[in-house]
Symmetry: C2
Subunit: 336 residues, 2 copies
């Protein structure tokens, strides 16, 4: 590989090579000619409440079945906005590149970001690039931030759940985390596993249109379904009852998690949502999820209760009942 | 040092140790109890145009005379908003921590962010934390994003300069970049150098109030004064004339840059601004800058012209005239 094909410290200097990188790569694919030489970009926002979010992405490996760090960085931030009931208005992307990174790998990641942004109907309007010495980073880290707008009448928060709410899950769990894990460190056995990484804003729009009373939305990323449910139970000061047999899991995830001794309830997802919906809107909500391509396997997995506030109880497939705690310690590092 | 005093992979797992870190460190100092368990935060914005920006910070060393990576991350993003004429409405902060980072160093950085945010009158309302293995990062990287609001009637852009505009500089150049350089790699000679890292939003507010016709604002960070002026010349399709003798430089910067063979015009600043102001408002603008603590040494350093569009001409202290090009190649890596 020629020296010209690799990222060098000069690409982060702010001088002519930085400008060349911005023009030849970022503007070429993410296309914001008006923003070329400005550090901040003007937004035109729809009416409604404005929400704001940020996430850093350090996933390893950078590319995996079903996605790469670029797709993940766009979907992750779109989904954080969507989980407040917001449609994304604009994203930013800040890159920390390691000296020696092949330019064609960076190009692949940027193209993937552009495609994911198009899928979500949002643009990446501002960005930044820094370069660190070889050995002071790990290929590419990407931090995306997002601004979104929540339509009038929608109020979604982890603190809004009420006793009796139906708990819906939009599809199978464990796909993203197990995909990353099997790609890594000698665990690359042949498997049909694929990350579920996807932007959930259009699924949320359909859900809110069918069930405008939806009270909580959450994407079970790091820490998985179990951790997300615990956070909601604590924020809403309610108990949660989950029936394990109702939680969708693919045969590949089931088999792989048994081999690895992992509980899919603690494994990260990147294209699934949990919704707490008032009981009278549960049926409409479920129907709306199921007709969307990202929600075909949606199911009601449980309900919120006034009993055992702050705790999640699981009825296992064996019919026994146990507390489903929050993730403790390290499970799968650098999953996103 | 005990194991308990260091960042471990578990702090990035999304589980209980991640929650503990958020509660004991980020919420303690940055204080947003309402945002505890939400991934996106609602903003209340003043009326006006909304602007959005992001920057990644990888400065080395993490702490230096006049600041640290935390102060830099807050000021850098506040200043990117201010350079569009915006007041900051909210910031986000995403941390990429290296396993083994001492927790008390992280605490020092977070306290410094809180102090800088207070100085700028803005809050850090949302965040994220990831941990990478020892050797895959370098202590702490911080990406801050910001949302700001531009008051009615203000229109600032690098493309807005007109022939005849007075070019003002708010103070001395080269302080930040030379401070970082002398702190690093065997160059730690005794010197009174100190970074100028500061939030410029209140200086901008005073300037715009005195000179509402201000057309361009720019903070000369990476690439320094020379690169910033070249960007403006290109965006506005105008020539720029600068008189070197009018550019303020401290004796310490002058001496250090001579020893190192560097031109201060290419060295990064983190608390200075360039303003292009219509000639009839130049005097009022300069007076407003000079009465502000961050602009006491403000000066008019040149003017915009229809001659040599896209280029910056410098009349040197020796009376000769030369083209001041954009920074080429690597100058000072990891300066911000």
């Amino acid at each position: 590989m020629k020296q010209d094909d690799l990222i060098t410290m000069s690409h982060g200097s702010g001088g002519s090579q930085s400008h060349e990188l911005v023009e030849k790569l970022f503007l070429r694919y993410l296309g914001q000619p008006s923003a070329v030489l400005e550090d901040a970009t003007e937004l035109s926002l729809a009416r409604g409440k404005v929400v704001f979010t940020t996430d850093a992405f350090v996933v390893k490996p950078l590319c995996f079945p079903g996605g790469d760090i670029g797709r993940l960085a766009v979907c992750g931030t779109v989904n954080d906005l969507a989980m407040r009931g917001a449609q994304p208005a604009a994203l930013s992307a800040a890159f920390i590149l390691e000296e020696g990174l092949p330019l064609d790998l960076l190009e692949r990641v940027v193209i993937s970001m552009a495609a994911a942004a198009r899928e979500a109907g949002v643009r990446i309007v501002t960005g930044d690039t820094k370069v660190v010495e070889h050995g002071s980073g790990d290929g590419v880290f990407i931090t995306t931030s997002g601004v979104g707008v929540v339509a009038e009448g929608i109020s979604i928060s982890a603190a809004n759940a009420r006793a009796g709410d139906a708990i819906l899950l939009s599809g199978t769990i464990g796909d993203h985390g197990l995909t990353i894990m099997t790609q890594r460190e000698g665990l690359q056995f042949e498997s049909p596993l694929q990350s579920d990484c996807a932007p959930l804003n259009s699924l949320v729009a359909d859900l809110l249109s069918a069930a405008p009373g939806t009270r909580v939305l959450r994407d079970p990323t790091r820490g998985g379904l179990a951790t997300a449910l615990n956070e909601i139970a604590q924020s809403s000061k309610l108990g949660i009852e989950i029936d394990e047999i109702l939680v969708p899991v693919t045969p590949a995830v089931k088999a792989t998690s048994e081999i690895l001794g992992l509980d899919p309830c603690y494994v990260a997802n990147e294209g699934k949502l949990i919704a707490f919906v008032p009981p009278h809107q549960a049926e409409a909500a479920l129907a709306a999820l199921r007709v969307h391509p990202l929600g075909t396997l949606a199911a009601q997995i449980g309900y919120a209760t006034q009993e055992h506030p702050g705790r999640v109880a699981l009825r296992t497939v064996l019919g026994t009942r146990r507390v489903l705690g929050m993730l403790v310690g390290e499970h799968l590092p650098r999953i996103c």
